[in-house]
């Protein structure tokens, strides 16, 4: 991770190639995060470019005590939220109910749960998850994507969203339960 910090430092000293390396390293993770959030490839590509430009412009504000990747994804998250607000698509502030117990999923196993493994193949489950992701609230989708597609740890996600780790875990578990229910009722 010190590699990122070195690249930032070099960029700030005017090394163009250092920032190019940052772009190469993070373009795929960012595109996959934004793409899963906006569900449109061309738009996701444009927004990913915008995020890099915004990052470049505010690179001097980056504090090396934070991980660069979490800082970058914080910019991306805020940018996506701003974009949706401008477009008047459902605002998705996760700050509401930061420690709200009501956001905890029902902690008991539902009775008579059917077996998904017998019902679907892995490929079908993937397709169902893609569809289910459109149905779950963006605030949960975002955390789910970071966890499973960007492979961030709970601590990293908590740092990006300024949330307690417990809240992040609960939200992600809740998202998975929503997806499971979608798979359960599906054809």
């Amino acid at each position: 991770m010190n590699e990122d910090k070195d690249l930032v430092e070099k960029t700030l000293k005017g090394d163009k190639e250092a920032f190019e390396m940052i772009v190469r390293k993070y373009q795929s993770p960012l595109l996959n995060y934004i793409g899963r959030m906006v569900r449109e490839r061309e738009l996701a590509l444009d927004l990913t470019q915008d995020v890099f430009i915004k990052t470049f412009a505010s690179l001097h504000t980056y504090q090396p005590q934070h991980k660069f990747s979490t800082w970058l994804f914080k910019i991306a998250s805020n940018y996506t939220i701003d974009y949706w607000r401008k477009k008047r698509i459902e605002a998705y502030s996760i700050d509401v109910g930061k420690n709200d117990e009501s956001c905890r999923p029902n902690m008991q196993i539902p009775a008579n749960e059917p077996s998904l493994v017998q019902k679907y193949e892995l490929r079908e489950i993937r397709e169902k998850i893609e569809k289910a992701l459109e149905k779950i609230p963006p605030s949960m989708r975002e955390l789910f994507v970071w966890r499973h597609i960007n492979e961030f740890s709970y601590d990293e996600i908590a740092e990006i969203k300024d949330l307690p780790v417990g809240t992040v875990k609960n939200k992600i578990f809740q998202a998975k339960e929503m997806i499971r229910k979608y798979l359960e009722v599906g054809p």
Binding site: F19, N106, E113, S115, L122, I125, N170, F173
Partner: protein, 192 residues
């Protein structure tokens, strides 16, 4: 052991529990069909989620980003350079005029001062004239609205309610068409 809660299952699947608890859960799911099924389902979802297909980045994406960044940076630089050039040009003209005029430095400043005062003077005249034009336009607008008001008043007594509604609707339609037409002309520079 009691049946598992959902958060325990998720933490178990992510091996986020102490080894002792992991073993206890292993033993429990070996005997409890319900919990085993619940674990299997959530494991299948997690595995599928971890292997979702990825969006592919176009090969020239990095170049596009870099080009955009440095184009934007260059345009800012260009703006600053333009301003600096303009300022330098004014200073150069002043210096050239000073050298040509055989004046001493204080004489040049007095001359510059005179030019500035003349400019301020002309600007004040322009400002006063502008106010006069605006007040005339306002007067005209008042008279026009008075005329519209009397016309509408006489119209209400002369025609029926239905016709009045049709006429008002028609007027709004024509005004909106004109407004948006003109706006489009201004924004897109479209030729008629």
């Amino acid at each position: 052991m009691k049946c598992l809660s959902l958060d325990k299952i998720y933490l178990y699947l992510e091996t986020e529990l102490p080894a002792e608890e992991m073993n206890r859960i292993n033993n429990h799911i070996a005997t409890c069909r319900n919990c085993r099924l619940a674990v299997e389902n959530r494991k299948a979802i997690s595995e599928a989620a971890d292997s979702l297909p990825l969006f592919r980045v176009p090969p020239d994406f990095t170049q596009q980003v870099m080009a955009r960044i440095f184009r934007e940076k260059a345009s800012t630089r260009l703006w600053i350079a333009g301003l600096a050039t303009g300022f330098s040009l004014i200073v150069a003209i002043f210096l050239a005029a000073f050298l040509q005029s055989n004046l001493n430095l204080s004489g040049a400043f007095i001359q510059l001062n005179r030019i500035l005062w003349n400019f301020v003077g002309s600007l004040s005249v322009f400002f006063v004239k502008s106010i006069k034009v605006v007040s005339l336009a306002f007067d005209l607008l008042l008279k026009l609205s008075g005329f519209i008001y009397t016309t509408l008043k006489s119209m209400t007594s002369a025609v029926g309610t239905e016709l009045q509604i049709i006429l008002v609707g028609l007027t709004i339609f024509i005004s909106l068409t004109l407004f948006f037409g003109v706006r489009r002309l201004i924004w897109t520079g479209e030729k008629i």
